[in-house]
Amino acid sequence: MAYAMLVDTTKCTGCRGCQVACKRWNELSPEKTTLSGEWTNPPDLTGQTWTVVFFKEMSKGGEMQWKFTKWQCMHCEEPPCASVCPSLAISKTPEGPVVIDTTRCIGCKYCVEACPFDAVRFDSRGTQELYGVKLGGIKAGDIESGGGSVGVARKCHMCYNRIAQGRKPACVETCLTGAIQFGDRAEIIQKAKTRAAAVNGYVYGEKEAGGTSVVYVLDAPPQELGLPAVTPKRYSEVKADMYKSIGGFGIIGAIILGLVYYFTKPKAEEAK
């Protein structure tokens, strides 16, 4: 069964229960931060912050608006990060989560570069004490938590370990307004479309990167909320296009260009 997560930003109150629920379940380190003018904190995803709520003040028709957009790995249907991983450490599970097996990760950062959503982070430090406060929790393997090996790529794994036990991801379970939901991907997309039509809004994630397992309902264009513009093409199509364009260079040329490609962000190339 392929699941997906719905993020209906029109219902989000910015309480950030999801942000701390994620840290709690995955035993992620607190980060030392400073005041953020728009209240977003930490300012972006890191190897120890797998989801973050972006706060944004806007104005529509002279009325003030304050938007809260939860952000994390989009769990692509066809994840470029998995495709480029030389150590085969990244899997797309049949349920939907894209999971990094950090015990296999060699820290090459190809996935960080390849991600069209800029959602994979290189974690150079692992879980740490801050203010002398340690983490609570069951010590799990470092695939499931922020602990264990350092110098690896880390990101949201959609609580694949909870899904396996018949529970929703931690951020979904804690969402008090029901802004984050979880279910069969086809149903989630249907829900998103119905809701987007009701609020005269936008669906994000149905088509981006060929479809993702996280689907948003937005009441403002994605780019206004700071979400990246991503091609609707699947990664395989992106690559097929690329190879078509390089035509008869032959296998050696392909390898060289392939290398060049890996050090370039596809999103930068493909953004519309």
């Binding site: 069964m1 309480c15 607190p30 003030m64 599970t93 609570g136 499931e144 931690a170 395989s236 097929a240």
Partner: protein
Amino acid sequence: MEFEKEVKLSRRDFLKLSGAAAASSMAGLSFSFSEAYALPPPKKKVVAGQQINTICYYCSVGCGIVATVIDGKAVNIEGDPEHPINEGTLCSKAHALVQMYAHNNPHRLIKPLMRTNPKKGVDQEPKWREISWEEAFAAIAAKVKASVDAFYKENPLPDKDGNYAISGKKFPVAWVGSAYSHNEENYLFRKLSVLLGTNNIEHQARRCHASTVAALAATYGFGAMTNHFIDAKNSKCIMMIGSNAAEQHPIYFRWVTRAKENGAKLIVLDPRFTRSASKADIFTWFRPGTDVAIFMGLINYAIANNLVDSAYVKDRTDADKELAGGKIYEELKKVASSYTVEEVSKITGIPADKFRLIADTYCRTKPGTILYSMGTTQHTNATQMIRAYAILQLLLGNVGVPGGGVNAIRGISNVQGSTDMATLAHILPPYRRVPTNAADIRGFQKYKNLVAEKKPAADIAAEFKIAPIDLRHYATWLLYMKHWGIYAGTYPENDPEKGAVISDLPIGAGNSSVEIYRSVKAGDTKVLFVVGENPAVSNPNLPDVMAALSSESVFTVVMEMFESETAHFADILLPASSLLEKEGSVTNSGRWAQWRNVTQPPPGEAKTDLWFVDELFKRLRKAGAMVLPSEKFQKDRGASLGTDPDGKWNYGSPPSAEAVLKEINATNALYMGIIAADGKNLAKRRDKTPADEMDANYGFFKNWGFSWPDNQRVLYKTDETAVLARALGRNFFTADKKAIIYASAWAAKGFGIPVHNEPAESPDAELRDKYAPLIGTHPAAPPANKELKIGDASKYPIVLTTFRLSEHMHTTMTRNMPWLNELMPEPFVEMNPSLAGKLGVKSGDFVLVKSARKPEGIKIKAVVTNRVKPLTINSKPVEIVAIPWHWGFKSLNPGSSANMLTIDAIDAWASIPETKVALCSVEKA
């Protein structure tokens, strides 16, 4: 949702999808692409070890949480999916609770400490020395005994009138309890204070909803939230004013969202654009401290546009009663008529069109409910504000109906309960007056004699020329004589007129929250207990509070989990158990009493408040520091009054919360029935089966926990199924069961009907003249408002308001939790770009914010935002700035305290300080 229990974590064959070209491009890089690796199966279990459910620590919503305990150690905390209020969801603060346990947090106090540096002050290190509990008790008992002995030397018994009674205010010991403590603990705090001889007992509730209690009790009968949290889903129009539920009571917003999904309108009025405002259908900014004008304006609008539910008003209120100048309704109409849309706009800064839209939407959409909180309650005229809310709801027929009501959202998880247990200077549990003077005790003796004669209550009431309902005060004192083993009355008993008055109940109200520290500063309070509160951050006018706490004449005992700002001034610092480490009942703001369970024992030598107060009682008795006036009388006169406080203080060893709850069940009228006839503790009930059809329709959950009174879920709903025959909450709790629009007790000073008064510090001279603040020479000004440092608008032209953040809970706990510090690391002042432009300030720059309390100002970072904006007040622009008040000089991330600037003016009817509005100036640092 059902998921497959076992998920095959096979690797997707991306090679097949991406084709040969991709494979070839990988060839040079990958070690192997022959076979995909499988992920190992998950190790981490959602359900492991023991699952212990309890009630969340923080706000008054009362969400259920579940702790996972392995080998006696709590390792995880999740939302309780079975809990009807939160249904498994939680806010950011609750998820960080695992960082409260000492095994995760080395900052928890685990040993009693004694100060060795005799000097006190912010800059004075206490130089703690670890001591034993024995040493701590010895030091405390000696200090209490010395101060009590000195007090009795100056105020000997019998007094000059031959009476054995003491002033509850003059007594040199003060106790500051806590709304974080359980009902049983608060009950014993209050009992202990009475046995000591003091009414100088206060806690957070004074700054929380003291004005709600005064206003709603005076209008409806009970000073509490009328409906409950889940009930918001039944509403069609929700007006939030002085509340920011999305941030301060996040799970309440779950039910507000549910209502919105069902088509309800959300109207938010706030001096700031908040996270609640972001979800509003209609939002307006307004100047803090002008709620009476808004609501008298709404009342005027409802009357003028025939939007009043006349049948309801006639049937259920005093509107038709005659006053000297006509009917009460006419008087209301007359007073309200001066609050025209234009006048309201002039005072509040709400544009006239916006006000009309709000008035029309709210008055026409039913059932409508008003949600409010500290934005309303903390004003010098807060009681009148809430009265105005309550009257509007009566006019619209919105009281006693699901989805309606005046929903006073309290702050702390047990602040409803701690108020019901009267950890307050002016009442005894539950909301019974303290004896006002010796004559009151003589009256009580008369009452006792009539009861002994077995006269019916109606006849007794007739003798006192009061309504039978007003006999409740004497009836409760009688219960305390029996259950506390104390005496109040005359000797001989058959001579209430001339016999000697003996009262173990201290006479007269004690010092309120603000006054306690003034009394400390004046040297009158010699021993101060602070158990679970942090006034060195949360009280207004902190420079004065800190000066008081630094005084060498006071011996301060603080019981805390962390070294708080107040603990920094302590002589003895005792390690407290967290709420995750003790059991007892807590009452949420919707009046649901629920049971907390122990998730693991307290760390080190930390103890529960229950253990501490029980032990302290025994030690003080043994040391002779706690001798009742009746005992002195018995000794002097050789007479027996039958007092036996020791025999009646018997809760087991260690003390059991349930044993105390049994006594509460017998003495506290609101909690009668919490222990069922079969001995079952109903606070422990976890049954979601609806009790009847009404329960099923509206989501009352009458089989979950216990709701006071008589398990009533919506107060004043006449047809809600009654559990006890008396059905206390089914109608207005007034002499004739009608709600009170006209408050005759307050009429002499001009407050029969609410009228607007400017805040203590008003930015507009003209408005200040027209609507005089309740300070100085104003006839309604309380004595405490006569000595204030008032700032003038010429020097301090900017309106300051204070607020809280979703990510922090008040002052101490959350600032010691790294995950929450990450979200909100430091304090700031919010200002509009227009003010920032004038000052040349951008977000992140430091500014100095100054007020009359702190003329040198506090240094704080600026956040430049449109969430606050200048308003047009009386045709002139007024800038408004806002500071969250969580921070202080201790904790993981110290920061400037907003309350350094706030004013310690208090409400004239409820003594709650005006921390929500003051004047300030801002300059670039």
